[in-house]
């Protein structure tokens, strides 16, 4: 076996499905001198890949995960290690059937062939199933199983064939050395191993459940937890022995019991996600020598599995109870879970130190390709922002947070998760100074980036009567879960008088120094070389012209800019700007998020209210739109910025945390006579925004979308260079492949007579249910959905094929497998409400 080289172009730590895919794609993309190490032996070094059940269901509610899965399937197929079996997800309850209908929406949105079928249909393909145990099923013919170990070997061998890969198994990493770089950012210099040290400027941790331990060696957090997935193998089953090969019958996911049944030759594997969350610490995983099977195949705890055994037996008694069928193998297999269920990918805060962790078999090859692209070009074809390691806020990096959240989410692996669903554990991590006051107002708090943000205020229920049906009440429980008509009442009051909104979750950072202008010009599309006191709203692009973010930049001085961006994506934005600071160190980035609170006040009476609290000139002439300056407000000096995400006259007020509560009270008090109310994020994030057609990063905007497709191009492009400029210029010269449109729902009446309201993610079809396909080969789906109370309409945003992007075009949205008529209202950023923006003046 090879010795450990003393230097490497890149070191990949791990020889599971991810590490193997990485070395293949890195060498394919031209990386040289690639070294792959693993503490285990090949081909199965003992990680989670070695005991994976290896089946792939392609439909997920997340587009990012679905795309990685589809790419992985394509790669597995190309390697000849994919066996198509088809798969059923069966429903034992009506509630689950509804979830399967919702799954159909995702299938159609992502273009995956699926259908809802009867128990008799299932019985025909799986003769040993008990039909009377369930009421229907979701059938995906493209489901299959893979040989992930073989795939790993093939990819490793392909990399070896380039002559650029050295593989060293049975070598354990003992340390990761870093050194100080510019701006105090450390960078990776060396991998220490039991077989000698390797000097390297680029290192990837692809070590699955051990990744946190390796991250610790370099002082970075890779917040995943090893968790147990129980699996038993029963056989030989006579019904299975007669079939050829590994799998002949479709895989059955028994969604309501959180189990699956998957044929493996003559055996039936029964897996479970129903048991209590059994979490381990990475340090407590046994060594290869200590482990009985492999380190990630922990001793089976049969008590945890017994209830599932009964449910599996109910479903397949003839098979599982067959003469001679025995439980021959049972494990508590370890896999990786994260606090939000997404992988952990990308470059860490230590320059050159990457990770590709918390990845399952179904995403492995796709992740390997995407991360290799990212490492090579700075971006990947598939948008990975939900999986970016930079997304984690400090509180999310704690082991305790990961433990609590995964304990809560484990049972949701097969659960019915509402898109608005909130976590219950480890809340109250970040409280705005107004929190107590808000609680007294009956605030219903939703969490964003650890911040507790009021979504609406129960004390505003008194408005419901005044607005009557204008609040667009929702009669169906699913549609109204995690929602309240009070949001719409708050919205209407804002449009009528004013609303005060807590925006403390904003991520705020200052860029100061002689090169501050260069930094923002380089990262932002919009012209930032503006007068001091100007506010700029701007997209941020990657090199291929996809969205990295959209945010606002204020010029506070010649060499001083303030960047304000959403909390959820703020950490990734901060990392992006940090990565574009000059090496000289003369220009710095300072995070003010925890020091500065933001309060918004908007509505036709906003100026009256603000002027009652200040002697400064806040008239349109004295304080124009898109300008900012310090004013004295209710005895406190605040930075006021005249900007709006809800399409109303008003300001974002940046105030030191310690004065925020006082300002909040003063605004509410001064606003009361004008009819102002506190309003929640339901207004700010959905209703106010959607009426104005404002795009949101993560919904309409991501790295696979362009400014032109999103209809956000300005007449001119600034002369200064910025990241993605070349691509953007090219995009402007060609017709878009897809066009972001605003649609309204014409009729909400379902077959049962109940009025239904879409929540987002639903496919847009022709009026008679035909499929649409845009120039990217994608199918249109709802990127944002919400009430537009001032229009009396339910509004949907969706990218449509250009030929369908015609105002007045009549299409349909599929919701829970029923079609509802919709009409295109806007084919660019022109808002449906107040298209000339009179209200903002």
């Amino acid at each position: 076996m090879a010795d450990v080289p003393t230097t490497a172009g890149v070191v990949v730590i791990g020889a599971g499905i991810v590490g193997n895919s990485l070395v293949h794609h890195l060498t394919r993309l031209g990386w040289t001198d690639v070294v792959q190490i693993d503490k285990g032996a090949l081909p199965n070094p003992g990680g989670s890949t070695g005991h994976a059940s290896n089946f792939i269901f392609t439909v997920d509610h997340s587009r990012e995960i679905t795309d990685l899965t589809l790419d992985s399937v394509a790669q597995y197929k190309e390697m000849g290690v994919f066996t198509q079996s088809g798969g059923f997800e069966i429903a034992r309850t009506e509630e689950r059937m509804e979830e399967l209908r919702r799954r159909m929406s995702s299938a159609k949105a992502w273009g995956i062939e699926s259908e809802l079928v009867s128990p008799a249909f299932v019985k025909q393909k799986v003769p040993f199933i008990e039909e009377d145990q369930f009421i229907g099923a979701f059938w995906t013919p493209g489901v299959g199983v893979v040989d992930s170990l073989r795939a790993g070997t093939i990819m490793r061998e392909r990399a070896l064939a380039t002559g650029e890969l050295t593989v060293v198994p049975t070598v354990e990493v003992t340390g990761l050395d870093t050194e100080e770089g510019p701006h105090g950012r450390r960078r990776i210099t060396r991998v220490r191993t039991s077989g000698g040290d390797i000097e390297a400027k680029v290192v990837v941790i692809a070590a699955g459940v051990w990744s946190p331990k390796l991250g610790d060696m370099a002082g970075i957090s890779i917040p995943l937890t090893p968790a147990v997935h129980q699996m038993i193998s029963v056989g030989p089953c006579p019904q299975l022995t007669e079939t050829e090969g590994e799998i002949s019958f479709p895989i059955v996911r028994d969604m309501d019991t959180f189990c699956y049944e998957r044929q493996h030759g003559a055996d039936m594997e029964v897996g479970s996600y129903a048991h209590r969350a059994i979490l381990h610490e990475p340090e407590d995983i046994p060594s290869i020598e200590q482990a009985k099977l492999s380190p990630t195949e922990m001793p089976f705890t049969s008590d945890d599995f017994d209830p599932q055994l009964e449910q599996a037996y109910e479903l397949m008694p003839e098979l599982l109870g067959a003469e001679g069928a025995e439980m021959r193998y049972a494990i508590n297999g370890l896999l990786s879970l994260t606090c939000d269920g997404n992988p952990i990918l990308g470059e860490s805060e230590v320059a050159g130190l990457w990770t590709a962790s918390a990845v399952w078999i179904k995403e492995g090859p796709g992740v390997g390709r995407a991360v290799a692209e990212w490492m090579t070009d700075g971006h990947s074809e598939i948008d990975l922002h939900h999986s970016d390691i930079a997304r984690f806020h400090e509180h999310q990096k704690r082991r305790e947070h990961t433990r609590l959240r995964t304990t809560e989410s484990f049972i949701k692996t097969y659960g019915i998760v509402h898109p608005g669903e909130q976590y219950e554990s480890d809340r109250d991590q970040r409280l705005s100074p107004m929190h107590d006051s808000q609680a007294k107002l009956g605030a219903v708090f939703f969490e964003t980036a650890g911040w507790e943000r009021p979504f609406w205020y129960e004390t505003n229920a008194s408005l419901l009567e005044a607005y009557g049906d204008a609040v667009m009440p929702r009669e169906h429980e699913w549609d109204s879960r995690w929602w309240s008509p009070i949001i719409n009442a708050e919205h209407l009051r804002m449009r009528e008088a004013a609303a005060v909104i807590d925006l403390s979750a904003f991520c705020i950072f200052d860029i100061e120094g002689p090169e501050a202008l260069d930094v923002v010009q380089k990262t932002c599309v919009a012209q930032c070389d503006v007068a001091v006191g100007k506010v700029v709203y701007t997209p941020v692009l990657d090199a291929k012209g996809g969205f990295r973010s959209d945010l606002t930049v204020m010029r506070l001085g010649d060499e001083h800019y303030r960047v304000v961006t959403g909390g959820a994506h703020g950490m990734a934005d901060r990392a992006w700007f940090s990565g574009h600071l000059p090496e000289t160190g003369s220009t710095t980035l300072t995070d003010l998020t925890d020091d500065v609170s933001t309060i918004g006040i908007w509505g036709p009476r906003a100026r009256d209210i603000v002027s009652s609290l200040t002697s400064d000139d806040v008239s349109d002439a004295g304080f124009g739109f898109l300008s900012c300056r310090e004013i004295e407000l209710a005895g406190t000096s605040v930075l006021a910025s005249r900007i709006s995400y809800v399409g109303e006259l008003g300001w974002e007020l940046y105030v030191p945390m310690e004065h925020a509560a006082g300002l909040w009270e003063a605004l509410l008090e001064a606003g009361a006579p004008h009819g102002a109310v506190p309003a929640g994020i339901g207004v700010y994030g959905t209703t106010g925004r959607i009426e104005k057609g404002y795009r949101a990063y993560g919904a309409e905007l991501d790295s696979e979308r362009t400014i032109v497709e999103a209809g956000m191009q300005r007449p001119k492009v600034k002369a200064a260079h910025f990241v993605g400029k070349e691509a953007y210029l090219a995009q402007r010269e060609t017709a878009p492949s897809t066009v972001l449109c605003t649609l309204t729902v014409d009729d909400h009446t379902s077959a049962s007579g109940a009025r239904r309201y879409m929540l987002g993610g639903e496919p847009i079809l022709t009026r008679d249910g035909g499929t649409l396909t845009d120039g990217h080969g994608r199918h249109p789906y709802v990127t944002s959905a919400g009430s537009a109370p001032s229009l009396g309409k339910h509004v949907l945003l969706a990218y449509l094929p250009p030929d369908q992007a015609v105002i007045g075009n009549q299409l349909a949205v599929s919701y829970m497998e029923e079609l509802y008529p919709v009409t295109v209202g806007s084919v660019d950023a022109t808002p449906l409400l107040d298209p000339t923006n009179e209200r903002i003046r």
Partner: protein, 256 residues
């Protein structure tokens, strides 16, 4: 109709590197997990086969609360009843365990379900004392056959065979008797799904020890010092054949 009693012990599944408990009085099963030893699995299999004549096999263990897992494992493969002497097994020496099993045999007999045959493993996979079965025989005043791999019962006699130093040996003796089993004579079955489900619901007789234990005379456990590996790996799979034969030539064992 035979109603054998079979004795099992919850032991660490020490097929890998052994980890000791903090007090060095036992083996830590955190990573390796717990099991019933191969000898005892064979004893259970033999008991179930012997009871197939219309009798019922009962499994007994002396162990902590978790040892119920080993009882259920035996119930899942065909034992009909289980008795759990709830006690800290580390505090019980071989004589203590033999006394407690004898008490179970006597109490079951008094309750109208006599066991005419008691099967045990030849030695415990952890403590390796090689004596519980023999001590049990003296407690009961029964004969004992040791280290056999097949056991059958017919006409009130038990026939057992096993490998001895001078060849394959056969014993035949009248019941009641104690027999200790070595693996190899029978293939123990794995549990079936219905078997496991039945085992889950089967009632387990719980009892306390009849007397305070004398103890195992154990001072402490220690691990032998690890020897550093200096192995030279010649290769993987059949492709390494030339390297292997090179070694033979180098050692001069290929001459002919």
């Amino acid at each position: 109709m035979t109603n054998p009693l079979v004795c099992v012990k919850r032991v660490v599944d020490a097929t890998s590197e052994v980890v000791l408990t903090e007090d060095a009085q036992g083996v830590d099963g955190r990573y390796a997990g717990f099991t019933t030893s191969a000898h005892e699995e064979c004893a259970v299999e033999l008991a179930v086969r012997i009871a197939a004549d219309g009798g019922a096999a009962t499994v007994v263990t002396l162990g902590d609360d978790d040892a119920v897992e080993q009882l259920r494992a035996a119930l899942a493969v065909g034992c009909a009843a289980a008795t759990h002497v709830v006690a800290d097994p580390q505090a019980f020496g071989p004589a203590d365990v033999a006394r407690e099993i004898a008490a179970v045999v006597r109490d079951h007999e008094a309750a109208g379900t006599p066991h005419e045959l008691v099967l045990l493993g030849n030695d415990a996979a952890d403590t390796g004392d090689f004596q519980v079965g023999i001590r049990l025989a003296y407690e009961l005043g029964w004969p004992v056959v040791n280290g056999v791999s097949t056991v059958s019962v017919a006409d009130g006699e038990v026939t057992a065979t096993g490998s001895g130093p001078d060849g394959h040996e056969t014993f035949r003796l009248p019941l009641p008797a104690v027999v200790t089993v070595l693996e190899g004579g029978v293939e123990p079955r794995y549990p079936s799904v219905p078997g496991r489900m039945k085992a889950k619901k089967a009632p387990i007789e719980e009892r306390r020890p009849t007397a305070d234990p004398v103890g195992p005379s154990r001072v402490r456990l220690v691990l032998p010092p690890p020897s550093p590996s200096t192995v030279q790996v010649l290769g993987e799979g059949p492709a390494s054949a030339p390297a292997v034969v090179d070694l033979f030539e180098q050692l001069g064992v290929l001459a002919r």
